[in-house]
Amino acid sequence: MSVLAVICAWFVAQLLLFGGLEQSRAQDRMYDDFREQLAAATAPVGGIVPPGAPVALLNVPALGWQQLVAEGTSSGVLLDGPGHRRDTVLPGQAGVSILYGRSSTFGKPFAAMLDGAAGKKMTVTTGQGELTYTIGSVRRAGDPMPAAPAGTGSRITMVTAEGGGRLGSLAPGDVVYVDAVLADGAFVAPAGRLNAIGPAETAMASDTSVMPALALSLGVLAVATVGVIVARRRFGAIRTWLIGAPIVIALAWLASDLMTYLLPNLL
C-alpha cells in the first residue's frame, strides 16, 4: 500500500512540480541556443528541422509570458515546451502554423492561453524577424473555423487541452484551439516542409517508441532498489541513504519522464 502511494505521489509530483522545473530548465537552455542562433543568423527558417530544435520565441508582454517553441509535436518534445507541428509552416510565415502545448503538466506552457489571453498582443521572433500577432478567444469543438489567411496573412493556431467541471484544470480531456492572427506582412514560407507526420505527432497521441528505454530504466531502478535494501542491512541506514538516495531519485526521475512519453501529448 505504502509503495503504491509513494509511486503515485511521485508520478503526480513529477507531472505537476518537478516537470515544471525540468521544463523551465529546458526553456533556459533552448533560449540560450536560440539567442546564439539568432545572433549568428543560423536559426532555422524552413526545410526540415530536426525535432527538438528551437524554432521560434513567443512573448506576450501583457501576461509576462514567454515560451520557446521547439520543432515537432511528439510527447517527448512537448516536455520541453510548446512544439511546432512539422507539416505546417513555421510561426511567422504566411499560412497556418500549428503549435501544440501542454496545459496542465510540465510547466503548463499553454495554460496562460486559456485564461485571459484573448485580445492580447503576442510577439513572435524567428530567424526571419519579429512580428506581432493578436490572440483570439479559445475555439472549442463546434465553434466556426476561421477562414484561411489570404495573401501574406498568417495564423498561429495553438492547440492544447482543457477539462470541464470541478477538477477542470487537472482533467484536460478536450482539445481546444487558440488562434493568433496577423493580417498581413508575414514572411515567405520556403518550400520543403514535410507533407505527412507520424501518428505520434498528432493531437492527444502518445509516443510508444520510448518503450525500450523505459523498460531499461525500470530494470535499472529495480536493481538499484534491491541494491539499496541489501546495502541498508550491511552498512546501516545513514550511509545507504547518503549513497542510495541520489541514485534512486535520479532513476525514478528518468523513468517517470519516459513514462510521460506514453501519455497524451497535450496533457
Binding site: M1, S2, V3, L4, A5, I7, C8, A9, F11, V12, L15, R85, T88, G95, V96, I98, S104, T105, R139, R140, A141, G142, D143, P144, M145, A147, A148, A150, R155, A161, G163, L167, L170, A171, P172, G173, D174, V175, Y177, N195, A196, G198, P199, T202, A203, M204, A205, S206, T208, S209, L214, A222, V226, I229, V230, R233, A255, L263, P264, L267
Partner: protein
C-alpha cells in the same frame, strides 16, 4: 539468512506490477482515444449541398430592370473528399431552367448545341474570395476539351456577351479576354472575339483560341474523353449526372492533387442578363423544354452553354470544393524504404490503393506494396518462398506436402458484370440490367455471331447477331434498341488465369439452364452453343479462346489480314482494371476496325472506335471495388428460377435477380463455412444457389502465407498486415487505411464474425511460424445477428481535426458556402489520469497506516 525478506520481495513485485500496469494501460487507452477523433472527423464521404438564387435580369425598353427569371438552384454532390483519378461522383440538382434541344452526347463540344443546360466542369482552385488569387478558381482554370467551349469569335451582331449587364466595360469591347493573341489565332479584325485562355497548374498560359493553342491533354484523340458536360435538366429543372473527376495523373495541366485543391463548378445556364435592348441577347430559347436536337441544329446564343464564362452566367455558378487522395505512386515517392511485396488478386486493387499509405507513411509499420498478378502464380510464389504473402480467393492444392500455408480472410468483395447501355431515343442511360447465367454463357462461349462475317461460322448460322437481339435477353430487359453490334456479341473478359473467372464459370456450371446450353442443348428459342465450346469443362480459372474460324471476305482489308473472327470479337485483356476503364469509356476491345495511314499502305486491323453516346452497349467483367470507384453500373444476376430450363418465356417473372449490395453480399457471406486455418472458407456456387438473396459474385479474398519456414521478419510483417487490415482496414471510408466502397467490412460480430476470428487466428499462426499439429477443427458458424454494429476498433491513426486523412493541415480546407465547425477531439486518459493518480495516492497513503493499525490491534 536470505538477502531479502519475503515482505520486501512481495512489495517490490507489487510495485513492478503496478508500473507495468500503468504503462500498458496508458498506452492502450491512448490509442483508443485517438480513434474517436478519427470517426468524428471523417464522418461521411464529404457529401456537398448548396443552394443559390440565380437570376436573369434584362433591362426593359424603358431603361428599368426587368426581372425575367429568378430561381433557387440547389446542387448536391454525393462525395467530395479523397477522390482518386477517374473516380465518378454523383451530381444532382434542382431549380434550374428546364433544358431544351437535348444533344445525344452532352460531353465536351458535342454538348454545345443545347439550350438552358447546366454546364458542369472541373476547375483548379477554390471559390473563396479570401484566398490568394493563385488558389482561386476562375474561368481560366476551368478545364474544357475544346477551344469552342472557351473562346469565341463571331459576327458582332451575335456576340451576346458584349451586352452582358454584369460584364465589365473591358469585356464588352469587340476584342476581350486574353490580349496579344498569338499568330495561330488568325483573328479577323471585324469579328467580335472573346478569348478565355487556360492557365495550367505549372502557370503556363494556353491562349486557347485554336486547336493548336490548347493544352496537350485537349489534343484530338487524347487518352481520355471529355469529362465536362452540358447536362440536361428535366421539365422541373432537376437532373443528375455521374461526373468523372481527373487528377494530375490523368490531366497534368489541370493538375488537381492532394496538394492542389480543385472544385466542381456547375453553371446553370438561364440566359445572359442584358443591359440594353439587343435582340440576340434578350432572346429566349427556340426549342421547347424537353425537346431533342438530333440534327445538331444551332441554338439561341443567349441561352447556350457556349458562353458559360460570360459574367452573368459565371455569377450564377455553384461550386463544390474537392479534395484528392494521395496519388497511386505516393508510397514510392514519400517512403524510401524497400517495400514488402504482396502478390495476387486484382480484387484487392482499390483496397490496397487506400491501404498502402497507411503503412508507408507510418515509420513504425513496414512498407506495404501490392503487385497485381493472377491468383495461381501468386500462390506459387508464396509456396516457393519467393514472396511473403499472396492474395487469393480459394483453396489451392499444395505441391510439396511438407509446406503449410494459412488462409486469413482479408476482404469480402467480388466480381460483377459492368455495363454501359443507352436507352433508345435519347432517353439517357439504362440503370438496371438483368442477366441470367445462360446469357453470360452465350457471351463467353462466343455463340452470338456479331456480324455477317460471324454468320459464316458453320453450326451457329441461325444464332442472333448480338445480345440485344436475343429473345431471352429481350424478355428479361425489355425496351432496349434492336441495333446489331459486334460489341454486344461479347463480354470483355480476362485473358489471364484468375479466381474471378473460376468463380464466374462455377456460377455458370451450377446453373441448370447454362449447363444444358453449354452441353449442347439449344435454348428454348433454338440458339445453340458455338461448337468449339460444346461440353467445355467448367469451372476453369482461365477461359480459353477456342474458336479458330476464319471467315472469307471480299474486302481487301480482311483478305490481307485473315484472323480468327471470334477471337477478334472477344479480345480479352490481361487485367480487370483495363476492363473497368474500357467500360467507363464505352470503348469495346473488339479488334475489327480496318485502318491504313494512306491509301497506298497495307491495311491493319485494330480496336474499334469509342461508342457514341446514345447508342452505347458494352459489357465487361469488373471487380466490385473498381465498379464503385468509377461509378460503373453493374448487372443483377439471376439467383433462382421457377421456370423450366427448356420453356420459352417473355418476362422476368418467376426469376429472382440480385444486384451487388451490402445486403446481398452479407447474405452470401453468412453461408461461408470455416474449414480451418489452412483452407479457404467453404463458399461454393451450389451453396449460394440455396440462398436466393445472396449475390452470386461474392468472393472472399484471403492473405495466404507459410505457417512454417517463413523468415521471422517477413512473418511478423504479414501477421501485422492481417491484423491491421482486418481491424482498422475495415472501417468504411475514403481515407488512407480505410476500406473503399465495393467491399463488405469484416467485423467482430455479425455475418463476418467467423471470417474475423479466422483472420486473427491465422495472423497469430503466421507470426509464430509453428505449424499446428493437426488442422484446426472447423467450428460451426454462428447464427449471424441481423444488425451490424459499428466496428469496435477503428484506425489508430489520428486525422488532423476536421480534415480528411492524408491531406495537409486542417485549417486550409475551407468551404465556400458553409462555415466548417471545429471538430471535437478528446482523450479519455488525459481527462482522468491526474485525478485518478491523486486519488490512488491518497487512498493508498491512508490505507497503509490503517492496515498497520488493524494488524497491531489484532495481534494484541
Amino acid at each position: 539468512m536470505s538477502i531479502l525478506r519475503p515482505r520486501e520481495i512481495a512489495s517490490l513485485l507489487l510495485a513492478g506490477l503496478l508500473v507495468v500496469l500503468m504503462v500498458t494501460g496508458n498506452s492502450s487507452s491512448a490509442t483508443a482515444a485517438s480513434t474517436s477523433a478519427q470517426v468524428s472527423s471523417a464522418a461521411d464521404g464529404g457529401a456537398f449541398s448548396a443552394s443559390k438564387t440565380i437570376t436573369r435580369v434584362v433591362k426593359g425598353l424603358d431603361g428599368a430592370d426587368d426581372q425575367v427569371d429568378s430561381r433557387s438552384f440547389t446542387l448536391n454532390v454525393d462525395h467530395t473528399v479523397n477522390l482518386r483519378g477517374r473516380e465518378r461522383v454523383g451530381i444532382s440538382w434542382s431549380g434550374a431552367h428546364p433544358s431544351g434541344a437535348r444533344a445525344a452526347d452532352p460531353y465536351g463540344e458535342n454538348g454545345l448545341n443545347q439550350e438552358y443546360p447546366v454546364v458542369i466542369m472541373q476547375c483548379r482552385g477554390i471559390d473563396n474570395p479570401s484566398l490568394p488569387a493563385a488558389q482561386q478558381l476562375r474561368p481560366e482554370t476551368c478545364w474544357t476539351t475544346s477551344r469552342q467551349q472557351r473562346s469565341q469569335a463571331t459576327d458582332p451582331s451575335l456576340a451576346v456577351w458584349m451586352h452582358d449587364a454584369k460584364a465589365s466595360d473591358e469585356d464588352r469591347q469587340l476584342k476581350s479576354g486574353l490580349r496579344d493573341l498569338p499568330a495561330e489565332c488568325s483573328d479577323a479584325a471585324t469579328d467580335a472575339t472573346h478569348t478565355t485562355p487556360f492557365v495550367a497548374a505549372s502557370g503556363k498560359v494556353y491562349a486557347a483560341c485554336s486547336g493548336s493553342t490548347m493544352p496537350p491533354e485537349a489534343a484530338v484523340g487524347a487518352a481520355f474523353p471529355p469529362a465536362e458536360l452540358s447536362a440536361y435538366s428535366d421539365a422541373n429543372g432537376s437532373g443528375s449526372v455521374n461526373f468523372e473527376v481527373r487528377s494530375a495523373t490523368e490531366n497534368e495541366s489541370l493538375g488537381c492533387s492532394n496538394t492542389t485543391p480543385c472544385s466542381i463548378v456547375a453553371v446553370p445556364i438561364m440566359g445572359i442578363s442584358c443591359d440594353d435592348d439587343d435582340y440576340q441577347c434578350r432572346r429566349e430559347g427556340r426549342f421547347e423544354a424537353g425537346s431533342s436536337n438530333f440534327a445538331n441544329e444551332g441554338v439561341v446564343p443567349s441561352v447556350s452553354p457556349q458562353y458559360w464564362w460570360s459574367a452573368s452566367n459565371w455569377d450564377n455558378r455553384v461550386t463544390a470544393p474537392l479534395t484528392f487522395g494521395l496519388p497511386p505512386d505516393a508510397c514510392a515517392v514519400l517512403d524510401k524504404r524497400a517495400p514488402t511485396a504482396f502478390y495476387g488478386s486484382e480484387l484487392m486493387n482499390q483496397a490496397s490503393l487506400q491501404w498502402a499509405p497507411a503503412y508507408c507513411l507510418n515509420q513504425k509499420r513496414f512498407k506495404f506494396q501490392h503487385n497485381r498478378i493472377g491468383d495461381d502464380p501468386a500462390y506459387v510464389l508464396v509456396e516457393n518462398g519467393q514472396a511473403p504473402a499472396a492474395f487469393v480467393s480459394g483453396t489451392r492444392e499444395i505441391e510439396d506436402k511438407t509446406t503449410r500455408i494459412g488462409y486469413a480472410p482479408t476482404a469480402v468483395t467480388g466480381f460483377a458484370v459492368g455495363f454501359v447501355i443507352d436507352e433508345p431515343n435519347n432517353a439517357g442511360e439504362r440503370t438496371q440490367l438483368n442477366l441470367n447465367a445462360r446469357l453470360i454463357a452465350k457471351l463467353l462461349t462466343q455463340s452470338y455471331t456479331g456480324s455477317s462475317r460471324g454468320q459464316q461460322r458453320p453450326g451457329i448460322e441461325k444464332n442472333p447477331l448480338s445480345l440485344n437481339l436475343d429473345p431471352e435477353f429481350i424478355a428479361l430487359n425489355p425496351g432496349l434498341d434492336r441495333i446489331d453490334r459486334e460489341a454486344a456479341a461479347t463480354v470483355l473478359s480476362l485473358s489471364e488465369s484468375s479466381d474471378v473467372i473460376k468463380s464466374l464459370t462455377a456460377y455458370l456450371e451450377s446453373d441448370p439452364e447454362a449447363k444444358r446450353f453449354i452441353s449442347g442443348t439449344p435454348d428454348p428459342w433454338g440458339m445453340v452453343v458455338n461448337p468449339s465450346y460444346k461440353a467445355l469443362k467448367l469451372p476453369t480459372s482461365e477461359f480459353p479462346l477456342r474458336d479458330t474460324f476464319v471467315p472469307t471476305s471480299s474486302l481487301e482489308c480482311y483478305i490481307q489480314n485473315p484472323a480468327p473472327y471470334f477471337s477478334q470479337l472477344a479480345s480479352p485483356v490481361n487485367s480487370i482494371t483495363k476492363i473497368a476503364s474500357a467500360v467507363l469509356d464505352a470503348w469495346p476491345n473488339v479488334q475489327t476496325k480496318c485502318d491504313r495511314p494512306n491509301a497506298g499502305d497495307p491495311f491493319k486491323v485494330g480496336r474499334v472506335e469509342r461508342q457514341g453516346i446514345g447508342t452505347r452497349f458494352m459489357l465487361g467483367i469488373v471487380s466490385l471495388g473498381d465498379a464503385e470507384r468509377y461509378g460503373l453500373r453493374t448487372a443483377a444476376l439471376q439467383t433462382s428460377s421457377n421456370v423450366s430450363p427448356s420453356s420459352q418465356f417473355t418476362s422476368a417473372a418467376d426469376r429472382r435477380f440480385v444486384a451487388p449490395s451490402t445486403e446481398s453480399l452479407t447474405a452470401a457471406v453468412k453461408l461461408a463455412k470455416d474449414k480451418g486455418s489452412r483452407s479457404a472458407f467453404d463458399l461454393t456456387q451450389p451453396m449460394l444457389r440455396k440462398q436466393p438473396a445472396a449475390y452470386p459474385g461474392t468472393m472472399v479474398v484471403y492473405t495466404t502465407a507459410k505457417l512454417r519456414g517463413l523468415d521471422k521478419g517477413e512473418a511478423k510483417k504479414v501477421s501485422e498486415f492481417i491484423k491491421i487490415a482486418t481491424n482498422e482496414g475495415q472501417t468504411p471510408g475514403s481515407g488512407n487505411g480505410q476500406l473503399p466502397d465495393g467491399y463488405l467490412p469484416i467485423r467482430k460480430t455479425g455475418a463476418t464474425a467467423a471470417l474475423y476470428a479466422s483472420a486473427q487466428r491465422v495472423a497469430k499462426l503466421i507470426a509464430e511460424q509453428r505449424e499446428p499439429a493437426a488442422p484446426a477443427t472447423p467450428k460451426p458458424s454462428k447464427p449471424a445477428a441481423a444488425a451490424q454494429p459499428p466496428v469496435a476498433s477503428a484506425p489508430a491513426e489520428v486525422a488532423p481535426a476536421a480534415a480528411a486523412p492524408g491531406s495537409t493541415p486542417t485549417d486550409s480546407v475551407v468551404a465556400t458556402d458553409a462555415t466548417v465547425a471545429t471538430a471535437a477531439q478528446s482523450s479519455g486518459p488525459a481527462g482522468v489520469l491526474l485525478p485518478l493518480l491523486i486519488g490512488l495516492a491518497v487512498l493508498a497513503g491512508l490505507g497503509g497506516p490503517v492496515t498497520r493499525l488493524v494488524h497491531t490491534w489484532r495481534s494484541r
